[in-house]
């Protein structure tokens, strides 16, 4: 006959295991952060120093991202999407494989590009050095940057010539990897899963609407689009398709996505000429 403690043991073990991630993501203190003030960033010939960005962060960033970089600044409660919690070391816009840290260049580019459809503006007015310092400052918030190296940037093959065949092939890829489940058959962000999506912190999140003319958060040129679905947007339901889409197919998908966008483009004109219909979610595989 097991005693009371023995009865509770499996439950206690389960509780302890479940609590592990919470402990791992426990809030860092100012003292923890101060120990990382020597953090540096390296972008081309520039070396950024975290300690040199303290005032700029206070002036421009603190109101959203908070004193401790945890995304709990005084404005955070009012804005949506919520500011990034730098302590977690998880970033959407990367050139590196999913699950890895971004490169310094990725963070540097994000600061200047801003994030459309969020409160993060384009901080392109900083000098290059100021921006490099801010990258180091962002890194100093997360212990991941002290213990891990960023992933290697994915290789993007040269962009091929866009053709009608490639756009049609991109439509096949769109159907095969089920982009439509979130983004909708017409790219209008109205797929069957779109209303149920949550980010890693359990907050509702919307898929990108290709048809409203907005720029994707992580850049809007062809290479940016390629990079987005081959690296995924960590922290969101958008996964990496690096294992499901071959590089050549990825370019096909880029061309098809461009054809969905309302801006005048070669891809859009070709799709119109082809009289391409939206993908049919119910069509058997390979019969779009």
């Amino acid at each position: 006959m097991p005693n009371k403690l023995q009865k509770l043991f499996p439950g206690l073990v389960a509780a302890a295991i479940l609590a592990l991630p919470l402990a791992a993501s426990a809030q860092l203190t100012q003292a923890d952060l101060d120990s990382h003030l020597g953090m540096e960033s390296h972008i081309a010939n520039l070396t950024g120093h975290a300690k040199d960005a303290k005032m700029a962060y206070r002036r421009y960033c603190l109101v959203c991202h908070g004193d401790l970089g945890d995304g709990n600044g005084e404005t955070a409660q009012w804005i949506d999407p919520k500011p990034r919690n730098f302590q977690l070391g998880i970033f959407k816009c990367r050139s590196t494989p999913t699950g890895t840290l971004p490169t310094d260049q990725d963070l540097y580019d994000t600061i200047a590009r801003g994030l459309d459809r969020s409160n993060m503006p384009q901080w392109s007015t900083f000098s290059n050095q100021e921006r490099a310092d801010l990258v180091a400052w962002v890194k100093h918030f997360s212990p991941r940057f002290a213990s891990e190296k960023p992933g290697d940037a994915i290789q993007i093959p040269p962009e091929p010539e866009v053709t009608a065949e490639r756009i049609k092939a991109g439509r096949e890829v769109f159907a095969r990897v089920q982009c439509w489940k979130c983004h909708g058959a017409t790219g209008q962000a109205n797929g069957p899963s779109s209303s149920t999506l949550q980010d890693d912190l359990g907050r509702p999140i919307l898929p990108f609407n290709f048809t409203e003319g907005s720029r994707p958060k992580c850049g809007s040129d062809d290479k940016d689009l390629y990079r987005i679905f081959m690296t995924g947007l960590d922290g969101t339901p958008m996964p990496s398709f690096a294992d499901n889409i071959k590089p050549d197919e990825a370019w096909d998908l880029v061309f098809y996505l461009k054809a969905l966008e309302p801006q005048p483009s070669k891809e859009r004109a070709m799709a119109k000429q082809l009289a391409l219909k939206p993908v049919d979610p119910n069509a058997p595989a390979g019969q779009q």
């Binding site: 005032m55 109101v63 959203c64 969020s118 409160n119 503006p121 900083f126």
Partner: protein, 468 residues
């Protein structure tokens, strides 16, 4: 427009001077009545950013704030259209400054004084004028600014009222503004960090030589017209051209029928590593304004001005960082008015001006009259201890290089102005602005005291500057 009034009041004819100086103390208190400055917490509320994001210390814009303004009050993050705002959002800000000040003038004409003049010092509590700043976007790439502004008595006028079409044809180089607006100098008097009676504005933005009838060439006054402005994506390069009526911003075309002025400005910023971004630029204001008015039964007919004469203001401006916390604003000017203005022809509509000469047929210039010319400069220093505390200093000099009329002392009307102060924001949030403002300023104008000696005045000001 308060410095304009200031300069005009400070000397045209000797006849007017006694009245002017007697009114000096009162006037100096009135001068602070309306800062007309643009620090707009409504923007902070809209975007959730602190004042410090756009202002080096409010209301002075930093580089990011300048870019926001150049983008037509847009962050360009797809949340600029008002459709994204809560319907209860109201893009309106109000600003006013209660203050205590000590104003002193060294020589004022006084009947009971043994020498006919004496020093007058006044202290007391006062109130600035009120600025109501409504600004924002009407739709993506269409923005507006409306600033009903009052003096401390509550008498209102429209300081700004304009609509701007930004990024036409998706190009940051095509932005058009129509209405009443501030001229495009990146050193802005509307956003100056100084507030006192003698130091609250830039002398060079309103300088008019003594006995000069040209009120039209004041780059510090908002003007009625149209402006094209273009800039690079990161705002490193800025260029603009504006055409406006030569009416000094006054509505209803009270002066000439066909008198226009043009203002051109261009600047380039440079990345200098650790020091940040330095900016240097230049401006030119070239215009014409009337000197001849029709009359009826001896009374002037507004809007009938002809006999246009020319004027110009040109100079360089720069914003230089010596360390990330210490910067210098440098502004220079070379000005020239036509000899007719120098002889006190020009604005005879404005009740405040002592010039009453009308250039009717047969009128000739006084013997030896020349185009008045001058040179000037100021250096304004800011030490930003942190985004909540800034120390300010400005030194400004204006020197006449040629007087309009013969027999006038070379240095008559020269100006020296020195200002020092600080602004402390005890808190900073994305909803409102509040600063404790302490400032001392000293001003000397050569030869304009009642006895023909130098007129000096000084102001000490302690105020609570707030907007919400």
């Amino acid at each position: 427009m308060r410095i304009a009034t200031h300069c005009r009041l400070w000397g045209r004819s000797l006849r007017a001077k006694h009245f002017v100086v007697a009114a000096m103390v009162v006037t100096s208190l009135l001068l602070i009545s309306s800062q007309n400055a643009n620090a707009i917490p409504a923007f902070a509320r809209k975007y959730g950013l602190r004042c410090s994001a756009c202002h080096e210390s409010w209301p002075m814009l930093n580089y990011f704030g300048q870019k926001f303004k150049d983008n037509g009050y847009q962050l360009m993050n797809d949340r600029d259209s008002p459709i994204w705002q809560n319907p209860g959002y109201w893009p309106v800000t109000m600003r006013i400054t209660p203050f205590w000040s000590r104003e002193s003038v060294n020589k004022v004409a006084v009947d009971t004084a043994p020498t006919g003049e004496q020093k007058i010092t006044t202290t007391g509590f006062n109130l600035s004028g009120l600025d109501i700043l409504a600004a924002g976007t009407l739709d993506k790439n269409i923005s507006f600014l409306l600033v009903p502004s009052s003096d401390e008595t509550g008498a209102f006028h429209f300081e700004s009222a304009n609509t701007r079409f930004s990024n036409l044809f998706h190009s940051p180089w095509l932005n058009v503004k129509v209405g009443k607006f501030e001229l495009d100098s990146f050193i802005s008097e509307k956003r100056t960090l100084t507030l006192s009676a003698n130091g609250g504005g830039y002398q060079l933005f309103h300088f008019i030589p003594q006995n000069d009838g040209n009120i039209f060439g004041q780059i510090g006054d908002n003007q009625l017209g149209v402006e094209w402005m273009g800039h690079s994506n990161n705002d490193r390069t800025r260029i603009s051209a504006a055409v406006f009526n030569s009416v000094d911003g006054n509505v209803d075309l009270p002066y000439g029928q066909n008198a226009y002025t043009a203002f051109f400005a261009a600047s380039q910023a440079f990345d200098t590593g650790k020091l940040g971004v330095q900016r240097i630029g230049g401006y030119a204001m070239i215009g014409q304004a009337p000197t001849t008015y029709l009359t009826n039964a001896g009374a002037l007919l507004p809007g009938t001005g002809t006999g246009n004469k020319s004027f110009s203001r040109v100079g360089f401006e720069g914003l230089f960082y010596v360390t990330p916390k210490l910067d210098f604003q440098v502004f220079t000017q070379h000005g020239e008015d036509d000899a007719w203005f120098g002889a006190c022809y020009g604005d005879i509509i404005d009740g405040g001006t002592p010039c009453t000469n009308n250039n009717i047929a047969g009128t000739t210039l006084p013997q030896g009259a020349k185009n008045p010319t001058w040179n000037g400069a100021f250096i304004e220093t800011h030490y930003v201890w942190n985004p909540q505390f800034v120390i300010i200093q400005r030194s400004e000099w204006v020197r006449m290089s040629q007087q309009g009329l013969p027999g006038v002392a070379n240095n008559y009307g020269d100006i020296d102005n020195y200002v020092i102060g600080y602004r402390y924001n005890p808190f900073m949030n994305p909803r409102a602005g509040f600063a404790f403002h302490n400032e001392y300023s000293w001003l000397r104008q050569r030869g304009t005291a009642p006895d023909g000696s130098d007129l000096t005045s000084n102001s000490l000001m302690l105020g609570f500057d707030f907007d919400f």
